[in-house]
């Protein structure tokens, strides 16, 4: 082989290592969403039997804006008696609601969907204020999906006989629902909509720290003239939820939250013939094979872990990359992470908003510290954070092993852990090395490999060459300790009906 002159045949590496630099001259101008069109009461009562009532406890607590730490409003602390009043209201409303024709139940749900669409901007702003997530997400994800859940399930209300072959499904009865703070309105919608479509009545408890959009949803029910007592909302802390799941008149409990609390609920309803669905925690593996479209995969991984500040039960928190592309992929991720805009959630250019609460911030900090202590290598881009509020820089650990706490425990924050695999078999083994089983991601250009890997991963949702997509028609829920039952789709509605031939719940 002829000698070549390396000096001329190899292009010079650019001095700035391929990074674009505008010398700080191209900053984004502020683009805040206005809040003046969203009227917020100083104090909210409980929504029971179609009316706003003062809590029997006489107690209220503040809900704050996580981006400013300023109080937004006070909400009621429901105690056992309040919960009982709500359950009695739901019980009272049940006979008429289940007797109502499916056509009419459908029309109420269609109305609710339409009103939500009409008031979408207001809900998006309120959600961002109360939760801390960026307006971009509440506007484009949370609120439209919430409306879709009502629209989708409206169309089921008059077709229940098509739900399960050979069965005439019946409503379960009074349903108690507990939802988390990470998608407050969306969770309320995807719990309430199927319950109502199937002819059940509801008592729902929003999360202590993000109750405002669920309360505002009651205004939508009022506008839609939904019969009194069909949906009742009780706000409060964990004690309110505990009182709800232990109420003897419930026929079903639906819970979204941590695995730890889910287990307590399963115990609390044991032996009572109460139907139960649990949507619990996750520690999703996100697999990137060497043949994947790496730039797209980078976007997918970013969406997988930094969407909603990582406060997502199905977040792709364990990136497992094929060894041959690890270094390249990590460099690409680092470059991309440096361009994530963290800050004012109301700004339309913001990618990552505030951490939802100081408590959650402490938990994230603690787990990140454990990652450092256990020897993983932390990367955090330079990132200016606002002075007030709760914030955390997008973070990535490399050199993570399967035994590190950061690859076993759900962090529920913007923290990615990276490890490697060599063969598809090893990728599957690592992906399944968890007691959770909610979601997974696979990036490869090989169709046959996608199906091979996807069929071996124990998880309820597998995103292939994409991540963190949701739809009312798509069943969502986990394997193993990520819970049981599905939400969305035909399978989700199934959890809200009783079948005559069915087995009894635990």
């Amino acid at each position: 082989m002829a000698k070549t002159d390396n000096k001329t045949s190899v292009p010079k590496r650019r001095a700035n290592n391929g990074k674009l630099s505008f010398g700080g001259k191209w900053q984004y101008a502020k683009a805040p969403e206005s809040t003046d069109h969203v009227a917020i009461e100083d104090r909210y009562g409980l929504f029971i039997g179609g009316a706003w009532v003062r809590p029997k406890s006489g107690k209220y607590f503040a809900t704050i804006n996580p981006a400013t730490e300023k109080k937004i409003a006070e909400v009621a602390q429901a105690n056992k008696k309040d919960v009982d009043a709500a359950v009695q209201a739901a019980k009272k409303a049940l006979p008429a609601w289940r007797k109502l024709s499916g056509d009419d139940r459908a029309r109420f749900l269609f109305r609710i969907a339409r009103i939500l669409q009409e008031r979408a901007r207001e809900f998006a702003v309120l959600e961002t204020l109360d939760n801390g997530k960026p307006i971009k997400e509440t506007r484009d994800v949370d609120v439209p999906l919430a409306a879709q859940h009502f629209f989708y399930h409206a169309g089921w209300a008059d077709k229940l006989e098509l739900l399960f072959p050979g069965e005439k499904p019946e409503p379960v009865g009074v349903v108690g629902q507990i939802i988390p703070w990470n998608f407050p309105l969306l969770m309320a919608a995807w719990k309430i909509a199927p319950a109502l479509a199937a002819g059940n009545t509801v008592v729902i408890k929003p999360a202590e720290t993000s109750p405002l959009t669920a309360l505002r949803l009651c205004e939508v029910f009022e506008q839609a003239e939904l019969p009194a007592g069909v949906v009742n909302v009780v706000t409060g802390d964990g004690s309110t939820g505990a009182a709800l799941v232990r109420h003897p008149d419930l026929n079903k409990v639906a819970f979204t939250g941590s695995t730890e609390v889910g287990k307590e609920i399963q115990k609390a309803v044991a032996g009572r013939s109460v139907d139960l669905t649990l949507e619990l925690g996750g520690k999703a593996a996100h697999l990137v094979f060497e043949d994947a479209a790496l730039d797209q995969a980078v976007e997918g991984v970013v969406r997988g872990i930094f969407f909603n500040q990582g406060h997502v039960c199905c977040a792709g928190s364990r990136l497992i990359v094929q060894e041959s592309v690890h270094d390249l992929f990590v460099r690409k991720l680092q470059r991309r992470m440096a361009r994530i805009r963290v800050g004012d959630p109301l700004d339309k250019n913001t990618d990552m908003g505030a951490i939802h609460s100081s408590e959650q911030l402490m938990r994230i900090r603690g787990l990140v510290q454990s990652g450092v202590d256990e020897g993983a290598v932390l990367f955090q881009p330079k990132c200016a954070l606002p002075k007030n509020g709760f914030w955390f820089v997008p973070s990535m650990f490399t050199g993570v092993t399967q035994s590190h706490r950061i690859s076993r425990e759900e962090i529920f924050g913007p923290v990615l852990s990276v490890s490697t695999f060599r063969t598809p078999e090893e990728a599957v083994k690592k992906a399944n090395d968890t007691s959770y089983g909610l979601s997974a991601g696979i990036w490869t250009d090989k169709g046959a490999r996608i199906l091979w890997v996807a069929s071996r991963i124990r998880a309820g949702i597998v995103w292939n060459n994409t991540f963190n997509l949701f739809d009312a028609a798509s069943p969502f829920g986990g394997y193993q300790e990520s819970g049981f039952g599905r939400e969305g789709g035909r399978q989700g509605l199934r959890a809200y009906v009783k079948l005559r031939s069915g087995l009894l719940p635990g």
């Binding site: 072959p165 597998v462 798509s474 635990g506």
Partner: protein, 282 residues
């Protein structure tokens, strides 16, 4: 007349017929001369280990093959009619009742055999999502399922709980009737002759009071299907690893009606829905 040949009633674990590792036996009421292996917690652990291996084989088999194997169970039940009737009579049934129960067992098995390659179409779906995505939901087995069979009917009671689980691709550890374990244990001999893979079904005999809670507690069991009314103690123990728990509380009249015992809704609680997304692009 020659002296009759008796049978030793042993467990069915991993395709073999071991005695209890504990060395214990019990004598079911009315059959004081018969020593039946009394399964222990350690036997249960062994059976779960076998079931974990059997799960891979069974769930990895094509639905068509699983259907044929279940149909083979029906064939074996039919061809061993005299023997099975005798086992049922040992459990206290009249000749007519024993014949009837065997008929029901065969009918039930054939119904579920034909369901194997339809369950996915009936419980899965393609979903109409927004955006350019192909989205579908398939079903997969929950895993290793523990079954506590009723005392009566001894054969149909075990089969009715076992078959829907096998249709879903699960492997099973079942505690057969404590009162009349003979037909339940003899079922193991039928399964062994039907090409059911080793470990896909494991049968234990013993005391329900002693073993049911061990089933509920064990973290390598993924689901629990228990005959009788809901039992808070079992569900509480099962919550430790978020087991799927169902109870089957039927009257003796219901247990004798085959139509009541065959339902897709008995398959559904022990399969997991897996939803796949993929972009659609040129």
């Amino acid at each position: 007349m020659s002296v009759s040949v008796r049978k030793t009633y042993k467990l069915y674990v991993g395709g073999k017929f071991p005695r209890s590792e504990s060395g214990r036996v019990f004598q079911p009421a009315g059959n004081e001369a018969v020593n039946v292996a009394r399964g222990s917690r350690k036997d249960l652990r062994d059976a779960i280990g076998a079931a974990r291996k059997g799960l891979a084989t069974w769930s990895g088999s094509a639905a068509y093959l699983r259907g044929q194997i279940l149909y083979r169970i029906a064939e074996m039940l039919a061809s061993r009619r005299d023997g099975m009737v005798q086992e049922l009579r040992l459990g206290g049934l009249t000749p007519a009742a024993a014949q009837k129960e065997l008929d029901n067992a065969i009918a039930l098995t054939i119904w579920y055999a034909g369901l194997c390659d339809k369950a996915l179409s009936l419980l899965g779906s393609q979903n109409a999502v927004q955006g350019p995505f192909f989205n579908f939901s398939t079903i997969e087995p929950t895993g290793v399922i523990g079954v506590i069979a009723p005392d009566k009917p001894a054969l149909v009671g075990t089969l009715a709980l076992l078959l829907p689980l096998l249709v879903g691709g699960n492997s099973v550890v079942a505690l057969v009737s404590s009162h009349a374990p003979f037909a339940g244990l003899a079922l193991g001999e039928v399964l062994a002759a039907s090409d059911v893979p080793a470990g896909a079904v494991n049968l234990l005999s013993g005391h329900r009071d002693e073993l049911a809670k061990e089933f509920a507690k064990h973290r390598d069991i993924d689901g629990l299907l228990v005959s009788g009314p809901p039992d808070a103690e079992l569900t509480e123990a099962a919550a430790d690893n978020v087991k799927r728990v169902r109870f089957c509380n039927l009257s003796s009249a219901a247990w004798s009606k085959v139509e009541r015992l065959r339902s897709l809704s008995w398959v559904e609680p022990f399969v997991e829905t897996k939803t796949l997304w993929h972009p659609v692009a040129p």
